[in-house]
């Protein structure tokens, strides 16, 4: 899951040019000063911004949820996205993401951490996507100069991605606060250090204009594998776990003497219909378990929640095939 080096070489080169020989190329020394000590320090900050902004803007997307929108950031060439749990709202949700140039692509949410507001999503279309590097060393510190990007208030092609500058003003284990002012629509958007590495994801604000909260990347890294596997991690407040028993397929079945279940009804607009199930199909197995009676099939479905994936093995025109679909909500 490491970002490839081609896209990296440009920002890396920029850092090398900026830093004095022998210093940590990754960490601008202006961060280690309590305050900028004059014009030169201000110019260093500005130079970092101007050099890293083009790449970080390209990777910052608007997540269009239909009613309202959030932001997110692409972190791998194959389209892995980090965003906030309260933006995706669940696992396996489908939505459109919009790049700054207006390009729209389909994406689907992977796992999330409901307690700290982390979420992952993935672009489902083929392609190589502009992306940024994650600060896996978790190297940012209190007082660091940072900038936030986002599609504030929704996508606006003429305006583009909005940038705000600030410092890390409070650092806790699972949240960091900056004085980059955020607003609705920024949720899920990226917080960058001066080298253009991703250090956090926007989560929430306080009534005060200067209180803006982000989830640090360490919280994502801690839950990385689970999120990749589309797990729903932790309990609220940022996302509500789908309830078992509320999963909805949308077929009516009749037992079949020679085994399996005959499909005799497919609900209009149901997940079953969308997945291509037809009247006359024979359901043989669900998730590898042989289906024998209607009751047994219903009991199996009761263990499922909305958005859960099920694999149905079926017999159609004498051939067996497997359909994988995602349950809806009852």
């Amino acid at each position: 899951m490491r970002p490839i080096s081609t896209a990296l070489s440009a920002p890396l080169l920029a850092c090398l040019l900026l830093s004095p020989a022998g210093a940590d190329v990754r960490r601008p020394t202006v961060n280690d000063k309590k305050a900028p000590e004059g014009r030169q320090d201000l110019e260093v900050i500005q130079k970092h911004l101007l050099e890293t902004l083009p790449a970080s803007r390209k990777a910052t997307v608007c997540i269009d949820l239909g009613e309202g929108s959030g932001s997110g950031v692409v972190i791998s060439p194959d389209g892995l996205i980090l965003t906030a749990a309260h933006v995706t709202g669940g696992v396996g949700k489908e939505f459109t993401v919009v790049f700054e140039d207006g390009r729209k692509v389909k994406a689907e949410s992977l796992g999330l951490v409901a307690s700290s507001d982390c979420a992952m999503a993935k672009i489902t279309e083929e392609g190589t996507w502009p992306h940024v590097e994650v600060d896996r060393e978790d190297s940012s510190k209190l007082g660091d100069w940072v900038y936030s990007l986002g599609h504030s208030g929704g996508f606006d092609k003429e305006r583009g991605v909005v940038v705000r500058l600030g410092r890390l003003v409070q650092v806790k284990d699972d949240t960091v606060q900056s004085d980059c002012s955020l607003i609705g629509g920024d949720s899920g958007g990226p917080l960058f250090d001066l080298t253009g590495k991703l250090i956090g994801i926007h989560s929430r604000v306080d009534g005060s204009l200067q209180v803006n909260m982000h989830v640090p990347v360490r919280e994502f890294l801690k839950n990385w594998d689970g999120m990749l596997k589309s797990e729903f991690i932790g309990e609220g407040p940022f996302a509500k776990k789908p309830e078992k028993g509320k999963g909805f397929l949308g077929v009516g079945t009749e037992p079949r003497p020679e085994g399996g279940l005959n499909v005799d009804k497919v609900g209009r607009e149901s997940p079953a219909e969308k997945a291509g199930l037809k009247k006359g199909d024979v359901l043989l197995k669900m998730d590898g378990i042989e289906l024998t009676t209607k009751e047994q099939f219903q009991d199996l479905l009761k263990e499922k929640a909305p958005d859960d994936r099920v694999a149905l093995e079926l017999l159609r025109e004498g051939k067996t095939e497997t359909l994988t679909l995602r349950l809806g909500e009852r």
Partner: protein
């Protein structure tokens, strides 16, 4: 260097003592803090000499931008209110009884004149390229009687037009019956009221075209901007009358619904949409901190703050447009 010496200590600390559960940066080192602003002192001095503080009694109403040595000042028109009883402070000197020479409704800019000489106008380089995202900017922050303070930020987005929220309107209610457009209400403070439109007038033509239904009128109005004039022919007591109605922004005239984003934005400008072109930055401010110059690190004027739009957006009129406005408004007022 310092960083080198501190490194072993920091490492020791990190291994020997667990980090406190929360670390907080002192206020002075934040974006709004004096220790950070100290590096912008040379730019603050430009605010000191070339920005104006417009007050009503002791209350600061709005800031202004000095555009001539002899006391021409541009400011945000809609924040001024009654010109009577205002005072203007430039540097540490206060001037009473400013005169309003001109107003440009499209930009929401007023030209004031004070009895002064030897002021230092802002440096408006209209040939300079518009600043790109990430460039430092400095604007007026809180002020005292003698001292201007700075607030800092960066250019935040692409320069563009901000269309009027809700579109441009005449400020009338119209009833349409059998191909007649009858005016049933003229709204207070609207361009229609100022132009002398009356209840009972029948609209015959707009911009020289005969109109018989709402749709036709809407099409004509829809092509115009806030602050532009529309020629209206109405029939009153059987006689045709020609009127010129200045269009207002719907939201400016009728107010707008408070959105969730507005609720988290503090005191935003009443007039915050309908500008032909703005540059956007992230300097924190409110309705009363508009009107002053937006400066770069060299103290050059990049524009004039014209609207606090939301929690994270402040708009400024770009330098080239501001220079054009200043020249035009000064020339017009001199010609009168």
């Amino acid at each position: 260097m310092n960083a080198k010496r501190f490194l072993p200590a920091a490492l020791l600390l990190a291994t020997a003592v667990p980090l406190p559960s929360a670390q907080t940066l002192e206020a002075t080192y934040r974006m709004t803090g004096p220790a950070v602003h100290a590096s912008f002192e040379s730019v603050r001095q430009v605010l000191q000499s070339s920005s104006a503080v417009i007050q009503r009694g002791r209350k600061e109403i709005v800031y202004g931008t000095v555009v001539s040595p002899d006391g021409h000042i541009l400011t945000k028109a809609s924040e001024l209110g009654d010109i009577e009883g205002l005072s203007v402070t430039v540097g540490d000197k206060t001037y009473e009884a400013p005169v309003k020479l001109a107003e440009d409704p499209a930009w929401d800019v007023a030209l004031l004149k004070i009895e002064a000489s030897g002021l230092v106008p802002v440096s408006l380089d209209s040939d300079a390229a518009e600043p790109e995202r990430g460039v430092w900017v400095v604007a007026n922050g809180a002020t005292s009687k003698t001292r201007r303070r700075s607030q800092i930020g960066i250019i935040a987005a692409t320069a563009r037009e901000i269309e009027p929220a809700g579109g441009a309107v005449l400020g009338v209610t119209i009833e349409e019956k059998s191909k007649k457009l009858m005016i049933t209400e003229v709204h207070e403070k609207s361009g229609a009221e100022a132009a002398g439109v009356e209840v009972g007038d029948r609209i015959l033509a707009a911009a020289g075209q005969t109109v018989e239904d709402r749709e036709a009128l809407g099409k004509i109005v829809g092509k115009l901007r806030v602050g532009e004039d529309l020629d209206l022919k109405v029939e009153r007591k059987g006689k045709p009358i020609d009127l010129k109605v200045r269009l207002a922004g719907r939201a400016d005239l009728f107010g707008e619904e408070m959105t969730r984003n507005d609720m988290m934005s503090g005191r935003v400008s009443k007039r915050r949409s309908g500008f032909p072109r703005v540059i956007q930055h992230d300097v924190i401010g409110n309705a009363a901190t508009m009107g002053g110059p937006l400066l770069d690190l060299d103290g050059r004027c990049l524009g004039m703050n014209i609207a606090r739009a939301t929690r994270c957006e402040t708009f400024a009129i770009p330098a080239a447009e501001l220079r054009g406005l200043a020249e035009r408004m000064i020339a017009q007022s001199a010609g009168r």
